[in-house]
């Protein structure tokens, strides 16, 4: 039972953060594609902006890893 709850907690930690990252990146990516189409030299800034929400899923991953490994 306890293992089941741990796995559930870990999956929620990474699953929800991955969804949030995906949602944020989809919006930023769409806007970024438009920006690059009009101003190709802005590709570097767009690259960084798209990468920023990834921190959420990485933090989720770290939490999930801690939940699973701290046993």
């Amino acid at each position: 039972m306890e293992d089941g709850l741990r796995f559930l907690a870990a999956s929620i930690a990474i699953g929800v953060s991955a969804l949030a990252t995906g949602l944020a990146q989809s919006r930023i990516g769409a806007a970024g594609a438009g920006t690059i189409a009009e101003k190709p030299e802005s590709i570097g800034s767009v690259f960084i902006l798209i990468a920023i929400p990834e921190t959420m899923v990485i933090l989720g991953f770290v939490i999930a890893a801690l939940i699973l490994l701290a046993h």
Partner: protein, 653 residues
Amino acid sequence: MLLVDVVVPRARSDEAVRRLHAAGVVHLVPFRLPAGDRSGVFAPGAASVTAEGEGWRGPCEWLEALAATLGPSGSGRGPAAAGSPRSAAGGARGPAFPVGRIDDEGLRRRVGRLAAVRDRAEALVRQRDETAAELERVGRVTDLLERVLAAHGRLPIPPGYAAVGVVVPRRVTEAFGRADVELRGLTLGRCAVIEVPDGAHQHTVVLVFPGRFSGEVQAMLAAHGLRGDALPSGPGGSGLAADVRRLRGERARLGARIAWIDARLAALCERYGQSAALVGLAVRDRLDEASALPAAGTSEHLVVLSGWIPAAQLGSLRTALGPGTAVIERHPSPEELERAPVAFENPPPVRPFEPLASFVGLPRYGTLDPSPILAVTFPLFVGLMVGDAGYGFVLLVLLLALRGRARSIPLLAAAWPVAAVAAVSTIVFGVLYGEWFGDAGRWLGVAPLWLDRVEAVESLLLLAVAIGVAQVSLGLALGAVNGARIGDRREVGARLSELVCLVAVVVLTLAGADLLPAPVLLPGGAVLAVAFVALLRARRVIAPIELLGIVGNVLSYARLMAISLAAAMLGIVANTLGGLAGNLVVGLLIAVPLHALNVALGFFDATVQGLRLHYVEFFTKFVEPGHVRYAPFRSALGADRGLGRNVGLEGGP
């Protein structure tokens, strides 16, 4: 870089600009009056492009277009290298172009001669385009009639009627349905629609209708985004086979006509390609020189051209400009320093990494260049993430196979050395992890030299975060150094406070996890409190966000472990699935494509994530992007021929 003012008597300004252009070392910037100058002697931008200089603009544009038409980078017509400006220095066929600078009158004569070539080339290109369009139309009609002949044997077109063939892509069949209805309305039902068997992605129909409606039918088809090809209307359709034979002959004739035009263009290219390219470059030089003076400062007697120059080039510039022209080194104002152009100066092994380091923008002049650090850490990250010796060898073999092609493909040439270093790093980490195509090496008794990353997940995670602590700390320290270099004391204080905060947080975390003795908790907490107060003074209200951001930056390096583990597991999955087949050949047929996919995904993902860690987590601590690349005022013709020193050489026309 030095900021210099080139001061020259107004009467000699044209010659000085030519010499400056030929020297090719000064990055020109608009002249600005010294702060507080109220004398009114100098006026920035007082001179304008002369009518003579402006007169080169038109020829420059059409000569570049002509060189593109005749050269290899244009339409592809003609011998590949004949029109290349670079090949001209090799002395291929064509009118000789003088090595030295030709005078304006001689250049105008050459431009005049090439104007006639332009007219001939444009006429030939126009004829070729028209003939190619006609060939395409005849080809479509021929194909259609051949299918009609095969399906129906004849095409009944009554006298006074016209026929139009329409190829309708499947995705717009609905539009054709509407056109069909409109056609019946337009012709009061006096029409026929003949279906012709066609491929799966389109269907073809022949519309037969009274000839007087031809214009309206074509307009209606165009309104629906369809194109109708008028078909030959033989006597009652009895001559369909003859029409097909005639059209085949027409197709062959048009093909021969295109080949003849191509031969004429190739002959023009052979004879005038080099000349057009070189004269185009010479005219471009004249136009650039004429455009330089408006940015200069002028007085009644003097002209001042301002620009940035590498310190090592100052002597050669003075020599190139000769006596009578003064080159005055000037101390730049803070605003000028802010806009100073940037040039990388790195040893050859680091240079391939410069484009990656400047991808998000060039760093500010006078600050640290991130390229040398990137050259070390980026391949390390890729190796750490992919970490399979077999995959590394696959990439290395691919790169060796592509080595010959890399010379002709600029992107590949730029990426080749970076990818080669990453491949070697991957092999090294693969040996350390004991991985050769997933766990296939283990079956042959290969053991990890360092750690088994599938088993030692926790250690790998700690290693990834430790790398994050090290790189973010280095970034903060370099940020403090950069702040000191540009005289920004607040930035120095902020970066040092952030660094101390980060170290204190790490110490407290380790102590909390019993990895450091408990007595460090109190001094660690005190240091964190003091550093945070200092950070608050430097960053104000955003200090807590900054500190949280830095901790987030460090944790972001956990992706090194996540991607590393994913790559290892995919390799194992490929072998496991292959092993399930129970047959060596079938197993290989399953495992090899999966490993190939893993190689492609692994290197792609590792490259993107490795760069992302540098750009977002590391560079943001010390690189201030968005500055201008050093682009010296340089003769296009001289640069192409490697003649940076053609000052004063006068050649005949």
